[in-house]
Symmetry: C2
Subunit: 336 residues, 2 copies
Amino acid sequence: MRVVGKAMLFDSPPVIAGSAGVAGKKESEGPLGSDFDETYQESLLGCESFELAEALMQQNCIMRACADAGAAAGDVQLIISGDLLDQCMASAFAVKGLAVPFAGVYGACSTMALSLALGCVIIDCGASCVACAASSHFCSSERQFRFPLEYGGQRPPTSQWTVTGAGCAVLKNAKAAADGVRITAALFGTVRDLGIKDANNMGAAMAPAAASTVYEFLKSTDTAAQDYDLILTGDLGFTGSELLYELMEKEHGVDIRGVHNDCGMMIFDREAQDVNSGGSGCGCSASVLCSHIIKKMRAGALKKVLFTATGALMSPTSSKQGQTIPGVAHAVLLEV
Amino acid sequence: MRVVGKAMLFDSPPVIAGSAGVAGKKESEGPLGSDFDETYQESLLGCESFELAEALMQQNCIMRACADAGAAAGDVQLIISGDLLDQCMASAFAVKGLAVPFAGVYGACSTMALSLALGCVIIDCGASCVACAASSHFCSSERQFRFPLEYGGQRPPTSQWTVTGAGCAVLKNAKAAADGVRITAALFGTVRDLGIKDANNMGAAMAPAAASTVYEFLKSTDTAAQDYDLILTGDLGFTGSELLYELMEKEHGVDIRGVHNDCGMMIFDREAQDVNSGGSGCGCSASVLCSHIIKKMRAGALKKVLFTATGALMSPTSSKQGQTIPGVAHAVLLEV
């Protein structure tokens, strides 16, 4: 690995040997529904609580990704995963039956990029097989961060809909997997906070971090936005994406409109599904990347994708205490 | 890096170029009080909330460790840190003013070993300077996990006292820092759950994970307990440590009594300070390692320390839902 500017460039780029994206009912009815590897029509997945349902969903996703990579549980040297729940409960309960070493990470909705970036470093350093995952669940998240589900509070236009979904990518070193999508670079983001306090406007809280991370990546790698097939943020939604365009132009003079899309804008039909500013949650970018995007890359329809997942680092406590929302964005470069 | 069994052995072992351990008033009055680099006599540190006080304490600790390492903020390529608060609030707010890339981790009280293990991989892979940190605060933790502070609930004999403290170690590659304590190996732990449900008996919940991690490390590196000056768990406390001895003997036939100590047993005077089974919290093992232990290693009084931090991966939600407590333990080997 070489550190160039703020980017880490991998000498022997890890290969995504297998992946899986799973999702809930509403997501299965959206534009990407047919790309998910498994969908659940029932919120509880047969479990006692939404939290355990999320854990089961993440576990299913990890096992599907391992199967896709031709890896038995014993082949996986480390699972790196995270979620939105207090103390990352979904991840702890997802992995506890798997008997695989586990590193828990927390990056709010940026978790999938964070786990991939760390996974790449470990593979580049000498490991042979690492699984990177993230999940979120509408029912476990909404009641934790906002209101009891039964309350039915009205959602403002800037609010996003927490995705019920999970994604997992199994990384192998280049020797172990000759073919596949490679991750050639990563950039760990810096926390930015421009003073947004509204937990129903996370797009605005995360956009400054996304702008910094995308700009630092382009600068460190001496590339232009047009060098990428896709700069994929997740999950700024419609409000945050507009703010990202504005910040990129005003702060850095860079226009990314032509090559940008956002997992939060892609996963739902904005009008038909009544999701206001789009999807959110670690499971949003995780499930979209690990199903739809990787399938398109494997088919050759996309060749160079800068995946920049964004996270709003507030907690219910910090929100109740009137604190601002720090944002962070981590990036990995996928190439085929 | 070479993966041998479950251990990762570093080809060019990262050096702990600087470190700092800070703590609160009660900790300053304990047996290790004089070893902390800074202590705070007031729980709020002048902040509006205990959560922000914890964030400030962690930030102070990171800056002290950087100063000890002769590193300006701009030299640090990544801060890896975590804490016990929902959504790792203390870490997010600690780093948001520092303008350094940030990777959040969650391992409950195992966080210091988790951040060190990941930091070592990144240094071994090619980075030059990474800061690894963890914190906890009695007041922010107790009210989150158990009862309002004002309630004054009676504490059972197995309960542990959450440490107000933080630790940070700044890792550099061997080229950048010739001298110092080196981390020569790491092992990411596997989650174990033997069915403990009592959040006031975390030692019992974590002991099985500690036993697995210590045993796997000895097996993978083909070493015996007696090859170490110290096998340092953190923070099983008195109850958990006794269970660790029992599990190591019954499951693996290994007696570690002669070389074992536990950060939760070391940080307080058990009788005089009324802490029942000892200290706990990510800040316990972090502050003890990054002040007392590293100072002893620098002075040559300890040469080979297997630091095995242990975490109880319950959340207030999982406890209220009657779930068991999954445990995890991560290990790093410090040598001088």
